[in-house]
């Protein structure tokens, strides 16, 4: 077998470098995407676990608040009295921003330094553990003391005793560097963005009124965590929870998994396109080698050897593709890891630092296996076809061109799959069950894969006479290649259709979320200005502002009303939801809930909702279910006064401003920025600017998919080039005959260019239709399930038309070169082709 592969197969691969290269590139790009996304995902997960483990230190249990800053500091002394608790360390964790123009965020870690030594290690730059702080007494005595990392001071040319200005919940503060940490322990996990302060000083900086985020516990030997947790449950007030540090990561991991599933599915689509390209390439090779296959069989080569020969060639292409794809994937992973982690960090509210992307053997093995299996899978049908060729038929110069027997069967199977897809779509929309949505997507992909060839045949048959009538002789020859090589052309249509369907569905999903978010924003856009911090705390939440900002705004004579909002995180049913306090919100003991909250926790208007507050558990009657995008787990809105009172929170997150009639908007904006802007780093947005910000946010979320789309489409269009070129090669003799009979060069070129356009047109039509169906299940069922956000379907007609038009233009461009080659074939040489 190896002899046959060496003598015939490898030489064949080298003899057709363009086609082999195309197949290799297809596999390489698929493997690269699979590997890059796997590695980026694993790196993000690794960073997440490091952050959670690193910040927890040696803590075995954590007592956490029901909402941000929601634990009373005095609770620590109560906990210390519980049997089995060796150490209880109160922790305040929040975000501040360096006020140096760059606005880098700092994770403020406020701890009781006396107890902290038993939990976490802070190493001094001299290398001695726990010597990061030069003079502990001075550090504790001065509330402006802060310990930062060596990387932080080096980047800014600072040293011990120097000052650094920061913006935090309580406003602008000048801190003094009284400790410098090496990047070990917690500092390694959080990187240069870590700043350690004394608990009391951190509370003041972050605007907390003797309230802390959590209490980390080290247990006495011989006391299992479950036993201590049970004992703690008896003494802790309502609204506090006891959990193991790793539990903190579960919701985060679930969300990260959903996000990464979407990325992984995109990479699988690229791999599916690669399968079609390899299939296409090998089907053409088999067609061109019919006589050679017949000859080999006549010389005594067995059917299974012919099968193995073709599979072997595909395997060689697959191996080269895997080798190239692995290198490309490693590079791509390094590019992807940081943005994926940043995006996850923003969405999860945790600082995630991805250092270097480790070369992960399981990920490498998975990507390599995916590439090789894809290559073999793609080769199976053409290889079986080659093995089954009757010797006499194979020895003929050309194949018979009767309609393939399989076309009818494939069409039947495709119609069956389409019926299943339709049924599953309807069931998914009715039941919202993700299982139906996955079934619908799988059935749709199967419909595209199975139906492209027979549909292409039908279209070619229908279009040819019509095109002849309107486009002359060139049009009359349209569809010839498709009719001659239906399986190969069908594979190209399928690949392109998949690429276009993916692009179309992504565009529809993006548009749906964009319009839905803007529609939601319209509900609070009836104001002249939106004032908020330009700094983001934990990604998407704006940094809180002290209440005195409102007084400064009210003092402006042109300002008629100032409407504040507060957004905090709240625990509900073991997960973190968003809690909004709105001054125009529901009255008294009532609440509004978002539709994703209602869907997730099965609540509706009229139900009672129990929330844990720092003042104990409180019940709210749900009076409205509305759209809200503050959190993937859902948002509860209560009156601002209620939030301030029950949650003991005086900060604000957003402020809406209305001006007196006739006020000069530009002058007011300038006045706000001049008076308070610099101190609180405010941004003052008009409704249009806010809308643009929201739109940009959605586009950033979908930014990853554009790259995958681009790669998928490039591979698919390369397939069109290959298909039309293969059509030219397979029909050389015919072209010679046509030219001998008086067919002009431009008529030949037109025929092949139109062939490309026909492929592009059909793929665009099928792809946009498939994209619409995919988008419906994604927006209505899958994304709410995976990402937690609910949206209405909005179809971007112009963008879809653009995708269809672009696919036509690009297919015409891809077909242009082979069409030109067809037109310039030397007639006498073409006639000599046997």
């Amino acid at each position: 077998m190896t002899t046959l592969l060496r003598l015939v197969g490898l030489r064949e691969l080298l003899a057709r470098p363009a086609r082999s290269t195309l197949a290799v590139i297809g596999i390489a790009l698929g493997v690269a995407l699979v590997l890059a996304i796997q590695l980026a995902n694993r790196a993000t997960f690794g960073a997440l676990r490091q952050t959670i483990d690193g910040t927890a230190g040696r803590a075995e249990l954590q007592v956490v608040a029901a909402s941000d800053g929601g634990l009373d500091e005095s609770l620590a002394s109560v906990i210390r009295g519980v049997a089995g608790v060796a150490t209880a360390v109160p922790v305040v964790e929040g975000t501040a921003f360096v006020d140096d123009g760059r606005g880098e965020s700092l994770t403020i870690f406020g701890v009781d330094l006396g107890d902290e030594q038993s939990l976490r290690t802070y190493e001094g730059t001299g290398g001695d553990a726990n010597e990061a702080i030069e003079d502990p007494l001075v550090f504790l005595a001065q509330p402006d003391s802060v310990a930062v990392t060596r990387a932080f001071t080096t980047a800014r040319g600072l040293d011990l005793g120097d000052h650094v200005a920061v913006l935090a919940g309580s406003g602008r503060h000048q801190l003094t560097i009284r400790g410098v940490m090496a990047e070990t322990g917690v500092a390694r996990v959080l990187g240069s963005g870590l700043a350690v302060m004394d608990l009391f000083a951190a509370e003041r900086l972050l605007g907390r009124d003797r309230r802390i985020d959590r209490i980390d516990l080290v247990l006495a030997p011989g006391h299992p965590p479950a036993e201590v947790a049970a004992a703690l449950g008896a003494v802790l007030p309502t609204g506090t929870a006891v959990e193991r540090p790793e539990q903190r990561g579960r919701q985060v991991e679930a969300m990260l998994t959903a996000f990464q599933m979407i990325l992984s599915s995109a990479s699988l689509i690229a791999l599916a396109v690669a399968v079609f390209i390899v299939y296409n390439s090998l089907a053409t090779v088999v067609l061109e080698r019919r006589r050679e296959i017949g000859l080999l069989r006549a010389l005594g080569v067995r059917r299974r050897q012919v099968l193995a020969l073709h599979l072997g060639e595909a395997l060689v292409e697959g191996m080269v593709g895997v080798a190239l794809g692995t290198g490309l994937g490693l590079g791509l992973a390094r590019l992807l890891a940081a943005p994926v982690a940043a995006s996850a960090s923003g969405a999860l509210g945790l600082p995630l630092l991805v250092g270097h992307v480790a070369v992960d053997v399981p990920a490498l093995a998975l990507a390599a296996a995916a590439g090789l299996v894809a290559a073999l899978l793609a080769a199976l049908v053409p290889a079986l076809g080659a093995a089954r060729l009757p010797i006499v038929e194979a020895m003929r110069a050309t194949a018979a061109v009767a309609a393939p027997r399989w076309a009818g069967r494939l069409l039947g199977a495709a119609i069956g799959c389409a019926t299943v897809a339709l049924g599953a779509v309807l069931a998914a929309l009715r039941t919202k069950a993700p299982g139906f949505a996955y079934l619908a997507d799988a059935a749709m992909f199967a419909t595209i894969g199975l139906g492209s060839a027979p549909v292409m045949l039908l279209v070619a048959r229908a279009v040819s006479p019509l095109a002849g009538r309107f486009l002359g002789a060139g049009g009359r020859l349209l569809g010839e290649s498709s009719r001659r090589l239906p399986a190969r052309t069908g594979a190209t249509v399928a690949a392109l259709t998949l690429g276009i369907a993916f692009s179309a569905s992504t565009s529809i999903v993006a548009q749906s979320f964009e319009v839905s978010v803007i529609d939601w924003a319209q509900s609070f856009m009836g104001h002249d200005f939106f004032v908020r911090s330009a700094l983001r705390e934990r990604g998407f939440v704006n940094a809180p502002l002290p209440p005195r900002v409102m007084d400064e705004l009210r003092a402006l004579p042109e300002v008629r009303t100032v409407t504040p909002f507060r957004l905090i995180r709240q625990r509900y049913a073991g997960e973190t939801i968003a809690l909004t306090g709105a001054s125009n919100g529901p009255a008294g003991k009532t609440a509004w809930v978002s539709d994703n909250f209602a869907r997730r926790y099965r609540k509706r208007a009229g139900d009672l909702l129990r929330l844990d507050t720092p003042r104990g558990r409180r019940a709210f009657r749900i009076v409205r279910v509305d759209r809200n995008y503050n959190s993937d787990r859902g948002t509860v809105t209560v009156a601002l006064g209620t939030l301030r009172r029950l949650w003991r929170d005086g900060l604000v997150t957003d402020i809406n401003i209305d001006l007196v009639p006739g006020a000069d908007r530009a002058a007011v904006r300038a006045a706000i920025l001049q008076r308070s802007g610099a101190e609180y780093r405010l941004e003052v947005l008009e409704p249009k600017a806010l809308e643009a910000q929201l739109t940009a946010g959605i586009e950033r979320t979908f930014a990853f998919t554009w790259g995958v789309q681009a790669i998928t489409l490039v591979v698919a269009f390369a397939g069109v080039f290959d298909t039309v070129l293969a059509g030219v090669l397979a029909r050389r003799r015919e072209i010679g005959v046509l030219r001998a009979l008086g067919c002009l060069r431009r008529q030949v070129a037109t025929a092949f260019a139109l062939e490309g356009l026909l492929i592009g047109g059909l793929a665009a039509a099928l792809g946009v239709a498939g994209g619409l169906a995919l988008a419906f299940t994604q927006v209505r069922v899958l994304f709410p399930d995976l990402l937690g956000y609910v949206a209405d379907v909005h179809v971007p007609a112009v963008r879809l038309a653009g995708i269809a038009a672009a696919s036509l233009v690009l297919t015409a461009a891809a077909a242009a070169l082979p069409a030109r080659r067809a037109a310039h074939l030397v007639v006498t040489e073409a006639l000599a082709v046997s």
Binding site: A397, T398, A400, V401, A402, G468, G472, A473, R476, E480, R483, R484, R733, E734, V737, L738, R739, A740, L741, G742, C743, L744, R745, Q747, V826, V827, T828, L831
Partner: protein, 237 residues
């Protein structure tokens, strides 16, 4: 009708260059049926390609219907071929996805003739070919003889000035071959078309008014049909 004036056709470059045709001159009269014979590699097919404008001579000139081919552009030669030349190939060269009728109509359709004009002309030649009842069949459903009749019908449908036939009976049994040649000859006599036929077969060549023999790219012999019959056929049969 056709004048070949000191035509040379070279292939290859430098030391590997060789002359497929070497200073060939001949004239074919309107309505004449010329057979070209010669062993393999003698330049027969090359000459036919040059006469049809499929290739250009390295030196010399070819005149068809008083027009020098070298002065015509590629498009002009193509249109000239489409309107005034009929081609018959040894291996029929019918387009496999087109029916017999569509294959015959192809040249007229390429020329933009409307269907109301094309239809009756195609019907007429298919009836002459005895294939009216097989008009909707594709090539793979036709016998070799039927396929060649379709190919000849295709060559005649545009009432060409010249029919160029390259081994038209090479893939046919002798009886079918004879019927093809009789049809070709009678049509040429009826319509006054000029026929240039390349063949290996002396018997086929005897259907011509005149036979030119090529050897090593040169005209080795040029004799009228009667003398040809007298000289060659007794040796064959």
């Amino acid at each position: 009708m056709i004048r070949v004036d000191h035509v040379t056709k070279m292939y290859g470059n430098g030391g590997k260059a060789f002359a497929a045709l070497d200073d060939v001159s001949l004239t074919v009269q309107r309505g004449e049926f010329l057979s070209i014979m010669g062993p393999s590699g003698s330049g027969k097919t090359t000459l036919l390609h040059l006469l049809g404008g499929l290739d250009a001579p390295t030196r010399g000139e070819i005149w068809v219907d008083e027009r020098p081919l070298s002065t015509m552009t590629d498009d002009e030669i193509t249109v000239f071929r489409r309107r005034h030349v009929g081609y018959v190939f040894q291996s029929f060269n019918l387009l496999p996805t087109l029916s017999a009728e569509e294959n015959v109509a192809l040249q007229l359709l390429l020329d933009g003739e409307p269907r109301r004009v094309v239809g009756p002309r195609v019907t007429r030649v298919l009836e002459l070919a005895g294939l009216a009842h097989r008009r909707h069949h594709r090539p793979d459903a036709l016998s070799g003889g039927e396929q060649q009749r379709v190919a000849i019908a295709r060559a005649l449908v545009n009432d060409p000035l010249v029919v160029l036939a390259d081994e038209p009976t090479g893939n046919l049994d002798s009886r079918t071959g004879e019927r093809m040649l009789e049809w070709l000859k009678s049509t040429a006599e009826t319509t006054g078309q000029t026929v240039v036929m390349v063949t290996h077969d002396p018997h086929a060549a005897s259907y011509g008014d005149r036979t030119v023999t090529l050897r090593d790219g040169r005209v080795a012999d040029d004799v009228p049909e009667k003398r040809w019959r007298a000289r060659v056929l007794p040796l064959v049969f």
